[in-house]
């Protein structure tokens, strides 16, 4: 339970960090909150020769809310985003989901961008990025680039971020006016990785449903969005029986067996949580 030897780098700027990443190549890992990385190191499941610790890099710890998006810097801790009133007002789904990210002490240290870059299928924030149609901002030797979420997540724990690129922030676009959201998940114990989690966003325009989006945690390989707008558009939200989403949800998820639950159970749970989350989100939609 002690890590193998590594070189610790503490760059002061994004450029410096990117330069170090370029030097150490595949032997380097970025350390932000360390809540996933450090246990992996201690168990020697990974032994990178270089840790590029970005905690001293200036300018990465801000949350910026504007009319269109919530932008979260790479050093913003989950807790910081969770408690950010502006972010909550702009995009309540963030706080709704962040409350399910592990436990408070982990949220105090772990970063939202780090969680997204880690791309764990059981992570909440990658799914939220997808539900919001978000974008990852990265800086590499050739300068900055933006990566839409759909191009970012390639597989479990796998992203399109290059070895010499640093994810410096993410942008969560705000939902259309009239959107209600909800996020529900179930774990064996409070704060554990979800057996299944579901986020829902229901938009109501002029008294009828105009948008329905679902996102899933722990039941898909990579974050994916199920858009059910066509199925419900034009209906009065209070008249919708959201249990009718069951087949679509069951088809959209591809859970696997593990020691905590079977695939069949997780699928059932996703279907049930989708019903509950849609009901809750519709209730909040204007």
């Amino acid at each position: 339970m002690k890590p193998a030897p590594f070189v610790h780098h503490a760059p002061r700027s994004v450029d410096e960090a990117v330069a170090v990443l370029g030097e150490v190549g595949h032997d380097g890992k970025v350390l932000a909150g360390g809540q996933s990385l450090v246990p992996i190191l201690n168990m020697r499941l990974a032994s990178p020769g270089h840790l590029v610790d970005i905690n001293q890099v200036a300018g990465l710890d801000t949350v910026v809310v504007d009319d269109a998006t919530v932008r979260v810097g790479a050093l913003v801790r989950h807790t910081g985003l969770e408690r950010h009133e502006g972010a909550y007002a702009a995009l309540p789904l963030l706080r709704q989901a962040l409350a399910h990210v592990a436990h408070p002490v982990i949220r105090n240290r772990g970063t939202t961008v780090g969680s997204i870059a880690h791309a764990d299928a059981a992570g909440e924030m990658p799914t939220i990025l997808a539900m919001c149609d978000g974008v990852v901002e990265a800086v590499g030797p050739a300068g900055p680039r933006e990566i839409p979420w759909a191009d970012f997540f390639l597989g479990p724990l796998e992203t399109s971020l290059a070895e010499d690129e640093l994810a410096t922030g993410v942008r969560f676009p705000r939902f259309a006016r009239g959107t209600g959201t909800a996020f529900l998940e179930r774990a064996r114990r409070h704060g554990d990785y979800a057996l299944a989690g579901v986020g829902a966003a229901v938009t109501v325009t002029g008294g009828v449903v105009s948008g329905v989006r679902l996102g899933f945690v722990s039941v898909t390989d990579v974050p994916s969005v199920l858009d059910l707008t066509d199925a419900y558009a034009g209906q009065e939200p209070s008249a919708v029986d959201w249990a009718s989403s069951a087949d679509a949800v069951a088809d959209a998820v591809s859970p696997e067996d593990d020691i905590h639950a079977t695939a069949a159970y997780r699928r059932m749970l996703a279907v049930e949580l989708a019903r509950l989350a849609l009901t809750e989100a519709a209730g909040r939609a204007a």
């Binding site: 339970m1 020697r44 064996r188 114990r189 409070h190 905590h260 159970y265 049930e272």
Partner: protein, 814 residues
Amino acid sequence: MTTSMFGAPVARREDPRLVTGNGRFLDDLGHDALAAAFVRSPHAHARIVDIDVTDALDVDGLVGIWTHEDLPGRVGEPLPLLIPHPTLTHGRTAYALAKDEVNHVGEPIVLVIARDRYVAEDVAQLIRVEYDFLTPVVGIEMARDATDLVHDDVPDNVSAHMFQEVGDVDAAMAAAPRTLELDLSIERSACMPMEGKGVYARWDDENGELRLYSSTQTSTGVRAAVAAKLDLPLAKVECIAPDVGGGFGVKINHPWPEEVLIPWAARLLDQPVKWVEDRREHFTSSAHERGQLQTVKVGFDDEGRILALDVKLWHDNGAYTPYGIIVPIITSTQLLGPYKPGAYRVEFWSLYTNTVLVTPYRGAGRPQGCFAMERTVDAIADELGLDRTEVRSRNFILPSEMPYDHGLLFQDGRPLRYDSGDFPASLDKLKALVGWDDFAAYRAEAEAAGRKVGLGIGCYVEGTGVGPYEGGHIQVETSGRVNVSTGLTSQGQGHETVFAQIVANELGVPIEDVHVTTGDTRRMPYAVGTFASRAAVMSGNAIALAARTVRAKALRIAADALEVSADDLEIVDGDIRVKGAPGTHMSLGTVSVMSNPLRYAFDEAAKAATQFAGSNDPSKPPVADDDEPGLEGKDFYSPTQATFANGMHAAIVETDPVTAEIRILRYCVVHDCGPMINPMIVEGQVHGGVAQGVGGALYERMVYDESGQLLNASFMDFLMPYASEVPVIETDHLETPSPLNPLGIKGAGEAGCIPVSAVIASAIEDAEGFPIRSMPISPVELWELRQRHAAGDWPSLRRPRHTSSSPTDTQEDR
């Protein structure tokens, strides 16, 4: 005295130190020590072909690498089998470092010592071990099947086969109007103390002395075992248990390989060496418990009275049996709980598997036994359509029948004879606490809201305070400070507090003046250890006896000095005074001065005891022939048998109609451990026990795959309940004294965890309307059981669900 300390909810005296980070645990010691790490087997069953250390030798900071062939003499012999038993015909223990063969993942093969733990682990990673694979035997069915063997020379994988019968079971069963059979199973779990094991050894080469610190539940046991292994005189070995961050049983087994190897290496290197277990090591290299398969056949009459009970147990003892077969013996005897079983026959097979060894974990076989018995009693109630508490009542041993001898031998080799207990009164309290008779209305209300709830119950009896003995030593300093020592160890239970309460009470001194030391062989070399809910009963009584000796001596000396009869004296707040004439008095500290005739006055108080200070009688020696200097006393308590505590729990659970998630809405405990020394500490023990019981009932299991890999060897995947999973625990107490010991007390340490699996199973069964035969149970398993039940592949209960006040047939909603 003015206030009695015995029975007072005194705040734990150890807490300010422990909760402010000022505890001194093993890893807080020895910062100058070298660090050890181990190469442990990644395979469950294999022969070791070759160990290649070539790549490891050049690592900077390496001190040494040792394998079995490097271990001299007794260090290289198998570890001791601590508790032999006539039926343990094929006991096997491991070597400190594996010799030729490994029998579970995690078994130590190579010892590495280096400058620090980081380097030691770097080295361990570079050592290559070549294996020849053998078929791993995993799970009780495979062990029982015995197609493959764990140990070549152990036929059928059976370490022990034990049989006890009272009465003629076959005849009673044949004559019983009704019979039922149940197949039951319980999964493995483990103690999981917050602090794992740890050993730190210092060798004093000039004096040829070893000082050993271990995070152990028995410092005297470790001392004796290490002295024997290292061929050292006992007088040259001292063992100290510092603050210990939990034990729960796993630290009573000894010596662990590390407890032999670390002192051995410290002496060899003439340098301090330390090893601190990490969590992964704890999962795969210490001990588990609980795993059993059970079959029960019960014969009973139409009123639900049990006439015959025939039980077979298959107990998974893991790869080795260093702690003997204590666990299945306890299951097979304590299974009977508060009931008269009629004729009783129990047979168990203790089986080897290629998994981590099994030694007692809080409850120590009782949760399994309680589960078997309580499932059986619930099944009888269901069969007859009787209230579950009614069937229990009809089978209770009554207070008038105490002491009650079951005619069986208990784990201490002594008769299973209950000393006291009032089971009907306990049940009445429990029913009132949980609202048993009002539950039907509660359920009706819940069901009207679309919710599914159930009520469960479980009763147990627990033999506590087993021998052979413990001792207490008390010495009063001239300042009035009272030093108390007892040899058994503490793992955070509150011994410093309750032992001080006993002394304050017996001696009549302020509790602030009492200072307790535990688990230090320098202070009390004769002791057994902390296990089997025995500390309060054993050391508590020994300390009380020692305090009475001190008190008698103090009164004798004071009576002499004050020229009164000792009978007229009392001790209040450390002051000895004449009853009714408090003006005539002297402090206990002064008595201490007078008890020790001095030649040299080292301070003002000491002057009074010097040769020219007072009226010495020149015709008598300063210390009488039949006396000793000093105000101190030592005594031992050694009981003829265990004292039996008991308890009854009830729970209301809710199961989600869709997701089968299980929530405990209420958890009620009625507990009887005799007079409570400190009710707050008893309460805490019960809470902790219930928390561990909830883990065993709903969350924890050891997930081995067929190759013997433990798939959930971390706190991420081994689901110990968090505070968020543990319900509020409501408690009530009975205090039925034990006639067996001076304080009339019984043990409380394990109580809380014993019936929890039985209670939760009972409640889920009640909510769902079909039997629960296997624990723990997860939402997935309950969900699957529902599907099997719906498909006609799993039976319904026969009776209506719990309907104390309004019996109705609710079969239709199954």
